[in-house]
Amino acid sequence: MLRKIVNLVLALVLTQFLAVSLGHAEEGVTATEIKIGNTAPYSGPASAYGTILRAAGAYFRKVNDEGGINGRKIVFISYDDGYSPPKTYEMTRKLVEQDHVLLDFGPLGTPCNSAIWKYMNDHKVPQLFVYTGASKWGDPKGHPWTMGWQPTYHAEGFIWARYILDNIPNAKIGILYQNDDYGKDYLSGVLDGLGNKARDLIVKQQTYEVTDATVDSQIVNLKNSGANVFINITTPKFAAMAIRKAYEIGWRPTQFLNFVSASISSVLKPAGLEASKGIISAVFLKDPSDPRWANDPATKEYIAFMRKYYPEGDPYDIFNVSGYSCAQTMVQVLKQCGNDLSRANVMRQAANLRNLQLPMLLPGIVINTSPTDYYPIEQMQLGRFDGQRYELFGPIYTAVSRGKQ
């Protein structure tokens, strides 16, 4: 009798234990659902970026309408953090501890991701395809649960440098950069790309602070240094000021502009389209407003998707193209996971993307990751602004992002 009771109790305890551990292994996953969390700035100073995650959420709806992933529907929980890191931390804890999501997809902003970086890695929750260009996210040894997506600032700087070495023989380079991690990330990319030629080619470096009223003084110094190449590593307002000031004082260098500020409507138009002619910027997505893609089936499919699933969004906004493509990368990872939807397997598959082509990436650009390569997109092509749009030219460049680790 006693033995029977003991057996019963033991069996009970065992099943409980099993249930708990199983539940833990498949946090956020049931037979019919996969729960994915996110934080993004839908309000506040960076709210223009919020549309990226709206487009991504719309893509998940499309996937669900088409039957989901292996029969499971995606439940996408996206919270507003107002681009404020403490809020990001609070919302992320809610996602992990109360909503029990499988993973955090595409949290946006360098300071916001920095705030949850340690938390996610301590709790071993995937922090996947974070929306920032900082190069620190590709650190599989120190932070195996975090991975970026877009080309890094470092990669872009590296690519400009390669183009300059190949095409501008008598380059004298002047650089203007924001005096913070973002600016220095770009700068290190340029320096790595130039290699041992950096010392000879760079004739002047100038910095500015976000509190500066103008960058006029810096532009005057760059012009007076005799530079014939201008690398413009600035956020939109300062980018527009720098372009206009250079034009006004009659400085006509070959200009490189970071994609942070490559927007035609919010940077080049305010700066003046005439002043912006000839500016070179790096590109990795198809711009749906470019007539070159007017008959491209992938672009047509994307526009149809926007009209149906995100009609209030602007299909020609490159941010939406980006959210659409990033969500496709996420879906590919979940498909590769099959029925093993554990957090560890999600990271294994995220680090096992092989020559993945996405419809809206420029032809020739592919996504590759491995357990030692946490940089999904490392290729870009250059585009030159012709007064109306960026005209793509030259080959697809591949950056070497790994110098830093």
């Binding site: 309000s43 506040g44 100073p45 960076a46 709210s47 223009a48 005096n179 100038q206 910095t207 500015y208 602070e209 976000v210 509190t211 500066d212 009223a213 103008t214 006029d216 003084s217 810096q218 005057v220 110094n221 007076n224 939109p236 307002k237 527009a240 000021m241 006004e248 004082i249 009659g250 919010s266 940077v267 138009k269 305010p270 003046g272």
Partner: protein, 293 residues
């Protein structure tokens, strides 16, 4: 040599921006005895109103003058509704109220107009003018010109009109002013209205240079405070000279003193505030406050 000259000219044009905002700060201080931290944001918000009108197809000058009227009325309303209840509270309370106004205007502008940079039209041509080795734009000359014109108008208003005299009297000694028949509370409201108006003009002059966005004044305001402190908080002329000096100083220090460079330009502004307060608290052109004991 031409590099030095170009840096000085560019410093003067940036200084013109600081001077404009510093003037508005000094005006409200002279007229009400309050240091208004929301001055920059009120100017930014007025500029957005002008932008809305211009975008709706209004001619520039119509929008310009309508904005001035709205800013004036807005300033009076703010004084009546928000400042009046804390009028006799300690200085810190008033400072906190104006800082509250600052964040409210900033967030509301962001909420309505988003944080995307917008170009703002200028009444002056943007064509560059070549003066020997240096180039300036008509816009920069215009901004400096407007701050000088505002200065002259302010001087006449405070020195040669009855209302101006009454406003100065109210700040000097409210009780005596009331006894001789000056309507103190009306004068304070008028002071806020005028300061908002001058701020609106400054905003519309500065926006074509620094572009319109909700945070366009945040950096400038610090420099404007430094300029007003340097010139003397009760001297409009001092504010203009202080602003121009700040602009030139910042450029020369950033260019020629290598250990400061462009990285510590803001520190220069803060150091100027500190040094002025330590050495000559009333500023270069300000009168020291004298109290009979």
């Amino acid at each position: 040599m031409s590099a030095l000259l170009q840096q000085v000219i560019s410093g003067l044009s940036t200084g013109g921006i600081y001077a404009n905002i510093a003037l508005a700060l000094v005006l409200i201080y002279q007229a009400t005895g309050v240091v208004n931290f929301a001055q920059g944001e009120m100017a930014m918000f007025s500029t957005y109103l002008a932008w809305t009108m211009i975008n709706a197809g209004w001619p520039y000058w119509l929008a310009f003058f309508t904005t001035m009227v709205i800013a004036f009325v807005g300033g009076v309303v703010i004084e009546r509704v928000i400042i009046r209840p804390v009028e006799n509270a300690p200085v810190l309370t008033i400072v906190m109220v104006t800082i509250g106004l600052l964040t409210i205007f900033n967030s509301v502008a962001g909420w309505i107009y988003t944080y995307t940079v917008k170009p703002f039209p200028s009444p002056f041509s943007s064509a560059p003018i070549k003066l020997g080795p240096v180039t300036v734009s008509m816009q920069e000359v215009g901004v400096a010109g407007v701050s000088v014109a505002t200065l002259i108008l302010m001087y006449f208003f405070f020195q040669h009109t009855k209302v101006g005299l009454a406003m100065r009297a109210v700040v000097e000694n409210p009780t005596s002013s009331r006894l001789v028949g000056v309507k103190v509370s009306q004068m304070l409201a008028l002071g806020w209205g005028l300061a908002a108006l001058v701020g609106a003009v400054a905003g519309m002059m500065v926006a074509p240079l620094v572009f319109l966005e909700p945070n366009m004044m945040s950096g400038i305001l610090i420099y404007a405070f430094a300029s007003a402190t340097l010139g003397g908080f009760n001297s409009p002329g001092g504010a203009v000279v202080g602003g121009l000096l700040m602009g030139v100083l910042e450029n020369l220090v950033g260019t020629y003193i290598t250990f400061i460079g462009t990285e510590l330009k803001l520190t220069v502004a803060l150091a100027v505030i500190l040094l002025t307060l330590l050495v000559k608290p009333s500023g270069l052109f300000g009168r020291a406050a004298v109290t009979r004991v």
